[in-house]
């Protein structure tokens, strides 16, 4: 399974990369929305998206990717510090299929949920 991890904090991406490595997921990292757009041609199976990033934030990226017919179908799960219901609703409205608040979850829980969404993917 190929996951595009869009996260600007290096330590966070390292943490999740470690976990994903253990799960034998392929991880592609982008540190802001613009980079993520550039990395889209790699055709990830899932995008794990942080919201607060420089250059282009998560919301903007999400809007853009969903407008692009080539990549709109890629499922997006949001993983962000922002925990307000308004933000969650906004992300869902823009097309995210799930939402995690970083300090409330562990990488293990995220992986479990991913497996729930994609039971067939190794």
């Amino acid at each position: 399974m190929r996951i595009l991890l869009v996260e600007d904090d290096a330590m966070v991406s390292k943490l999740y990369q470690s976990k994903f490595d253990l799960e034998r997921f392929e991880t592609i990292i982008a540190s802001n929305g613009q980079e993520a757009l550039d990395k889209l041609p790699s055709n990830p199976d899932l995008i794990l998206l942080d919201l607060m990033m420089p250059v282009m934030d998560g919301f903007e990226f999400l809007e853009k990717v969903k407008k692009d017919p080539k990549y709109a179908k890629i499922p997006v799960i949001v993983l962000s510090i922002l925990g307000q219901e308004a933000d969650i609703k906004k992300a869902q409205k823009l097309g995210a299929i799930d939402y995690f608040v970083k300090e409330e979850v562990t990488p293990g829980q995220v992986v479990e949920r991913i497996r729930q969404h994609f039971p067939q993917k190794p």
């Binding site: 991406s13 976990k19 540190s31 607060m52 420089p54 300090e103 562990t106 990488p107």
Partner: protein, 648 residues
């Protein structure tokens, strides 16, 4: 009666009396004069009769006419002689007879007169002389016993002429005198009045010049006198009023100077406008804030100088001024207002307007007060950024720690010993605690700066309460505590309230959590009270209760009680504060309903029923803030700019 009328009457009386006297005098004089003439005539007649007698012939039938000689008769020149025979015909006259007609006339006339006369004696008579065509005064004398008559006559006008003359003179004189008096007296009287009036006028002119100190007097009584009195009263009143006015003016000037001094030193901009919107006052601070330091602004419509607008889109916002001017209401625009001043300078301000009213509550203008809050806005922006960044920065490391700990616990790093597992679990708890603290601290600050978004909507409180109960009942069970829930909550029978569902849940979590934490044994009751405008949720416990000294500051930030809480169970002491703050912002409140040391406590929070006044106010406030926040988001620096570059 007034003097002058009396005088006039006296004058009239005098004139009348004079005329009467005159006429009486003249009458007598006339008569006397006539009498004299008659007697003179009589004398002449007598002597003439004596002279004629011997001239009579024929037994007195005729007279020796040629023998008549007027000279011998000694007839005075102004007198005329008429001689009549016993038959009554005129035989001789000294007058010139023009024609026989005249002669006949006289005969006829004499005949008619003769009828009335006693022909034997002297008598006077008056007749009209046909010869001279003039009235005559005459005396008739019989010539002895002959039956012949002699009449001696004189022209009446001749005889009485002098008297008439005199009379005419006197009457003319009198008339002239009367005319003169009638002209002069009123004239004098007029002048007398005019003089008095003139004197009054002079005195009133002094008043016109401003001299109010001299009394107005007049020596006359009557109308002029009363006019003078009235003028004097008027003068005194004028003087009084003017003195008052001058005093008031001076006072006003003093006040005005004081006000000017105050206005000049006020830090806020003050702009006063009249009912047409023209500027009548613009203090120094206003000039500084708007940038119009030296320009002339008085008399100009304020809209031409300054524009108030909404911060978000700069659309005009002058309604608050119109409201003050037209409706007489005090208005305030504390948020999201900007002022566009000179050179299109946009300044965030807090502004307010109030009407200027006269004592009779008539609106004569408005005062606009505004304060430059750019500094505050800046601080707010900095705070806002700080929260966002702190939020991120403070929590991320902890979530990373948690992440690794979790992975190790799951065995991702290999098998771990029991002790390792135990220690790692402790680390997890500590991290949780730290996260909670950071959350609380940031929440408090963010709440205070009113930046938290609430999603107000109609909710069924019972639903939220039940959700929380589901999660937290196990904890209570572990401690052996029973939770009783009000029937209405179980049956969803509470009226809908307006609130953010997440926040409502958190409030209940706070109360229930505290109740569970501090009650060692007994029960917890969750009750509900429905009032006209709000729903109240009560959480009662059988814990130790709260001592008197802690109760006052219970809901304050970092209250003493909070410190106690912290020590006991690692709480932050902020929960109650946040609960109260959040409740109030949603239009409700939170409080300690009752407590008895040793028996337990009851905490309560309320939320406004959908549609109630509190609900509407809260919603309006939050909608406005959200609008502002959304707009601010668009124009501010994107997050992450303060972060260190990723280490890749």
């Amino acid at each position: 009666m007034k003097t002058r009328y009396k005088l006039f009457l006296v004058y009239l009386a005098a004139v009348a009396l004079l005329l009467i006297l005159l006429s009486l005098t003249y009458h007598r004089w006339f008569e006397a004069q006539k009498q004299t003439i008659f007697e003179t005539n009589a004398q002449v007649a007598k002597s003439t009769a004596k002279t004629i007698e011997p001239m009579l012939l024929d037994n007195y039938q005729s007279v020796n006419l040629p023998g008549f000689d007027l000279a011998t008769l000694d007839l005075p020149a102004d007198r005329s002689l008429f001689l009549f025979n016993p038959q009554g015909s005129l035989v001789f006259t000294s007058k010139k007879i023009a024609n026989s007609t005249q002669y006949e006339n006289f005969n006829q006339q004499f005949k008619s007169i003769r009828g009335n006369l006693n022909l034997k004696t002297f008598q006077s008579l008056e007749f009209f002389d046909p010869f001279s065509q003039k009235p005559q005064l005459a005396t008739l004398a019989p010539v002895g016993n002959t039956g012949w008559l002699v009449i001696i006559s004189v022209d009446k006008s001749l005889a009485l002429g002098p008297i008439y003359q005199l009379l005419r003179w006197q009457i003319s004189l009198i008339i002239i005198l009367v005319i003169i008096i009638t002209i002069v007296v009123p004239f004098l009287f007029n002048r007398w009045i005019l003089l008095r009036i003139h004197l009054l006028t002079l005195q009133t002119q002094k008043i016109t010049k401003g001299e109010l100190d001299n009394p107005i007097t007049s020596t006359s009584r009557g109308e002029i006198g009363s006019l003078a009195e009235n003028l004097e009263t008027m003068r005194r009143e004028l003087k009084k009023r003017i003195t008052q006015l001058v005093k008031a003016k001076n006072e006003a000037e003093t006040i005005s100077q004081k006000d000017e001094a105050i206005l000049a030193s006020i830090g806020d901009g003050v702009c006063a406008i009249d009912t047409k919107g023209k500027v009548i006052l613009f203090n120094d601070a206003a000039r500084e804030i708007t940038g119009f330091v030296n320009e002339r602004v008085i008399g100009i419509r304020f809209q031409d100088i300054i524009q108030f607008g909404f911060e978000e889109d700069l659309t005009p916002n002058n309604q608050f001024i119109q409201k003050a001017l037209k409706d007489g209401e005090n208005t305030k625009m504390t948020n999201h207002t900007v002022l566009i001043g000179k050179n299109v300078r946009v300044i965030p301000v807090e502004a307010g307007a109030a009407p200027i009213k006269t004592k009779s509550s008539q609106i004569i203008g408005a005062i606009i007060v505004f304060r430059d809050v750019s500094h505050e806005r800046q601080l707010e922006n900095i705070k806002e950024d700080f929260f966002r960044i702190s939020s991120h920065e403070l929590k991320t490391p902890m979530s990373i720690i948690n992440g690794y700990v979790d992975m190790i616990l799951r065995g991702d790093a290999g098998k771990i010993s029991r002790k390792t597992r135990e220690y790692l679990q402790e680390i997890t708890q500590v991290v949780k605690r730290q996260l909670a603290l950071v959350n609380d601290l940031l929440s408090v600050s963010r709440f205070e700066s009113a930046r938290i978004a609430f999603n107000l909507q109609p909710i069924q409180l019972a639903d939220e309460i039940k959700k929380v109960l589901e999660e937290m009942t196990p904890q209570a069970k572990e401690k052996g505590l029973k939770i009783n829930v009000d029937r209405r909550i179980l049956a969803n029978q509470l009226p809908k309230v307006q609130a953010d569902p997440q926040e409502a849940r958190l409030m209940f979590v706070n109360f229930l959590g505290n109740a569970i934490k501090f009650t060692e044994k007994g029960k917890i009751d969750v009750g509900a009270k429905v009032e006209k405008d709000r729903v109240i949720i009560l959480v009662s416990d059988t814990g130790p209760g709260i001592e008197e000294e802690y109760r006052r500051t219970l809901f304050r930030r970092f209250s003493q009680f909070g410190a106690v809480l912290k020590r006991k169970s690692g709480g932050t002491g902020l929960g109650l504060f946040i609960t109260k703050f959040v409740a109030q912002r949603m239009g409700g409140d939170a409080w300690l309903e009752s407590s008895k040391a040793g028996y337990g406590s009851t905490f309560a929070f309320s939320l406004p029923i959908v549609g109630s006044k509190d609900a509407q106010t809260a919603k309006a406030q939050l909608v406005q803030e959200k609008k502002a926040r959304d707009e601010l988001e668009k124009i501010r620096v994107k997050p992450g700019s303060f972060r260190s570059p990723p280490i890749v």
